[in-house]
Subunit: 340 residues, 4 copies
């Protein structure tokens, strides 16, 4: 941490800052510059709230040097993490493999779910997604089938061998979802629901953590850090679009975060081009862009009859379009030395 | 809802859209324009997911006409809502009164909390805020005193008569918080935690709902709608800054939402200039701006010794600064025909 | 500037960075921390492009310490600047005075302009605004009366004594606008039109510089720095809303920038609540909020018949509403110890 | 256009709106709904400012149906535009070809420019970029070689046959730049410099138009419309990142706009991964993502010695890295049925 003093700060103010720094267990180095005096505070105290110093008299600002996340960073673990979706099952983050997880936005009924699951399996997907509990912006919208939905998902897994990925909306869902699913999804709206992060960290199944729609990369990795610190190292990150001023799409898919995370973290990164764009016609190009840009895979919403889907109709692609897209994914993956 | 057809859509596509509209229980009016044909769908079906039509062949886009929220709107209730913080106690949204709620970011210990509470009372505040459960971005930061904090808050209320406002972070906190507090706060990160919204709606105490940091006005009012629909009409809205590209402040305080909400909703609106700016030196001017701009009050973080505060040190103001600010609030309130 | 080295950087890399720093004429201080080594580069070389060092091997990032603007900053000039709109005329930034500049979006015809000018004068305004050249998003929209518009503005000044504020859209407009106007406005879309900034800096009339709709505070002050460096110290800043995800208003009025600029710069700051909100019904509350928040004044769009205005109809307020607003401004100004 | 009336609007207000609509030369259809009455205004009057109606009494809002751009849209020209960079030379927007334009941020000296140009040519690029006039945020930064830089670019073209792409910063640059360059670039900061757009439209060379950093897709296409309307149909669009809250990159590269523009416009679209990310290590993955996502090509900044570049050091890639990237581009292009 660097403490930058104001232009006309006094010696007493400087001494006070040095004392505050040392009271935190850090050592201090004072550097008198041409226009500013700065105090470099040395030591690894990520857990200390350093902003207190910002309020001390004569201080202009605090500049952090260390990133606030640690166990999610490459400093602590240099090699990429590869996370098995279930013991002995397919993994995400195995460098040469591209993972595709697909399924309906919501689990709507048993037969359509099974139809979709077989389509995912046949096309080369490794995971089946589908919401049993739906976080809906409007209280008037369909809210999901709850446990019945989870049972259908489990049945689809038995028939296909796909790993089931589904969302827990609140702490009390976690044990139930963990009972049926292979991977517990934490949605974008819950990325800073710290109680839920902790609950997901205290059970053994891998967690697919979606980026909040206004989360910085640092906040995203700190959310992963919550889960890891609670005891569960198996966190899969997922970019799903951020909120910006753009209005031709529901969100702005911020693909650059994929190589940016790669540089600072060992965790695998998926992309969700469905929520990341909000329109079916944009899903295929953004899926291919994600693969070419270095993502470890994608999570897609597909539906046999999007027009009659109960949720997110406008952004789900049809099963034939999904099959075509899988072939295109395979080609682009090969062009960047990976395989589906 | 207006369905806009693509330029070269066919008669069959148009007929199909008309059928979809009518299947939803809406009546349809086809208007053939110079460049586009549109289908106006008439009827109040806010609860229907209309985006399904967007995927029908030949459809360019859907334009909603009705706002998706209803019970929070002035269409349903024209006069302003005034919400008593406790039975017979002070109210927010009483048109001529400005409400000030103040207190520390976190409840840190009994004596400092009582000191603060008395300062709030003496300066003319009506509510005491203070976090017992803290949602912290970093897992390494102080997480709050939990129930002990709630007990201190309740004691402060007994001594001062202030209404206690404190946050519930998750569904399981709600009964506990409701037992001690007068008003349950739902924080910005939980604005779309729909399970929590519902739990807050199923208990009788008023709810202070903070705007999510990337929530549109419509999403904000839909979150209020969740609470009201669950049975609790006593929702107080609170603007607390949104996430933008600005970097001189932690958030961008979007004050314009105050008169904008006034126009479409009957619910009272507070502003939180502390989180809305993130720096102590910005709190006073933004507080006065909030009052002049039509807010029903403010919620402020104050601390006897911000430099040693356990959380949010950089943005809390001192007790003497708070007393001065209260006098300025009174003057600005008078200038817009309101009283503290 | 602080150069932060990567965790496993080598001694050679460090030596290379030290050499780069010293080649720039800066002195270097190496601090070996627990997790990082940093090089503090000392000296005032704002004019050097320091990002070159970011590409040197072993460097993680560069952290600037000094703000990049200088002559616009309080470090160079501590006391507030007060800028006379014309020699011996009214000033902006005179601490106790609130300035109101008002007028139509576009100069439409002579008689309506004169009517408006008299209304501004009578209500206590000091400046008349009105566009002669209009920057329109659509090539199909009304583009302004050009020099004829400037002549009407000059005539209105002769009749009323108001200072005329009008926009130059391009370098070649500057001499023409300077001939008729008292203050040359540079619009939001031109805030980083560096040729125009320079041209405005090379002539003697004060410049009203509007913030770009995605400009940071630093970029805003650097734009002012361009003008000042070109020889013209008389720059008046104007916040006019930024682009965010909000959709109930055309822009998000970022009022917090007013006290934030005050802290780092001596230049006066106005607010434009008309463009900053985009809707007439939001103008009055945001005007009052601006005054209470510490702005030196406002610039407003008013029109005798907004419904038939040629441009920006939806956001201009009527003359009677303007008169009422001026009375409210006077009251709020008094509450913050200022006068209209 | 759909005019939505307020809930309790009167018959007089409705009649007045109908009259306003018809005065604009549009025909009106009144639809009385359950909660709202709407007036559908029919006719192609993109050139009329319709927002005037928004101010009429009883009106809640206006919903446009037609997009405001026309000649840039697929409605007017269905097939993709292919734009030759010079008569008989290589084209952009030829469906199966991927175009690569590369060069230094600034033209710094003759020999390095020629070295770069040969590297671009040998690796398969079709265009040479390089700034002779630099729009710098800071007045203290290097501002470019001006006409000397243009002369070096022209010499590089003679030696290599590459098309020269360089920026005109202001109206008066246009004839000079047009004299030396094959393609005139309009930078992001000038995307709404309407005088410059017009000047570029009144000369015959193709224009590479960069998206403004806070421009919506509609504004971007309207800027292209300005150029086309002024007489020059040869507009190449270029996404270069938008301003958001993200802080790990200089801008957020909004790749989704590529397929979104494809759907509504016939103009070719390039991507600039250099400015779109701001860091050299992000350029390669985002280049490949752009190609996979459907861009017609990329424009890249390359430099023989980025560490000593005069501008934009941190984001330029080296010549060996560029050669490697070109081979990767070729592979990804092939995977989406295109060729370099």
């Amino acid at each position: 941490m660097i403490v930058v003093m104001q232009p006309h700060s006094t010696t007493e103010q400087l001494d006070h800052v040095v004392k505050l720094v040392e009271d935190m267990g850090l050592s201090s180095h004072v550097i008198v510059g041409t226009n500013r005096t700065v105090v470099a505070a040395v030591g690894d105290k990520r857990m200390v709230d350093k902003e207190a110093i910002e309020t001390a008299p004569g201080v202009e600002k605090i500049v952090p040097i260390l990133s606030p996340f640690k166990v999610a960073s490459r400093e602590v673990k240099e090699e990429d993490s590869s996370i098995a979706l279930r013991p002995g099952g397919p993994a995400i983050g195995a460098r040469d493999k591209i993972a595709v997880i697909a399924g309906p936005c919501s689990v709507e009924d048993r037969s359509s779910l099974l139809e979709i699951a077989h389509a995912v399996k046949e096309a080369g997907g490794i995971g089946l997604r589908g919401g049993a509990f739906k976080p809906r912006t409007s209280p008037y919208s369909f809210q999901g089938l709850a446990e019945t939905g989870l049972q259908y998902l489990a049945e689809a897994r038995e028939q296909t061998g796909l790993a089931v990925v589904t969302e827990a909306l609140t702490v009390s869902h976690v044990p139930l979802v963990a009972q049926y699913a292979d991977v517990i999804q934490i949605g974008a709206r819950n990325m800073q629901n710290f109680m839920l992060l902790r609950a997901a960290g205290e059970q053994p199944k891998p967690v697919l953590l979606k980026r909040g729609m206004s989360a910085t990369m640092e906040e995203f990795l700190l959310a992963a850090e919550y889960i890891i610190n609670a005891g569960n190292p198996n966190v899969i990150l997922c970019e799903r679009g951020i909120r910006t001023f753009e209005d031709y799409c529901r969100n702005t898919l911020a693909l650059t975060i994929v190589p940016a995370i790669r540089r600072v973290s060992h965790l695998p990164v998926l992309v969700d081009p469905t929520h990341g764009t909000g329109h079916a016609y944009l899903v295929a190009p953004m899926t291919l862009a994600s693969i070419a840009g270095g993502a470890d895979g994608v999570i897609l919403e597909i539906h046999p009859d999007p027009e009659h889907a109960l949720t997110d109709a406008a952004q789900q692609i049809t099963l034939p379009d999904f099959r075509d897209l899988m072939q295109q994914i395979a080609r682009v993956a090969a062009a960047v030395d990976r395989v589906l």
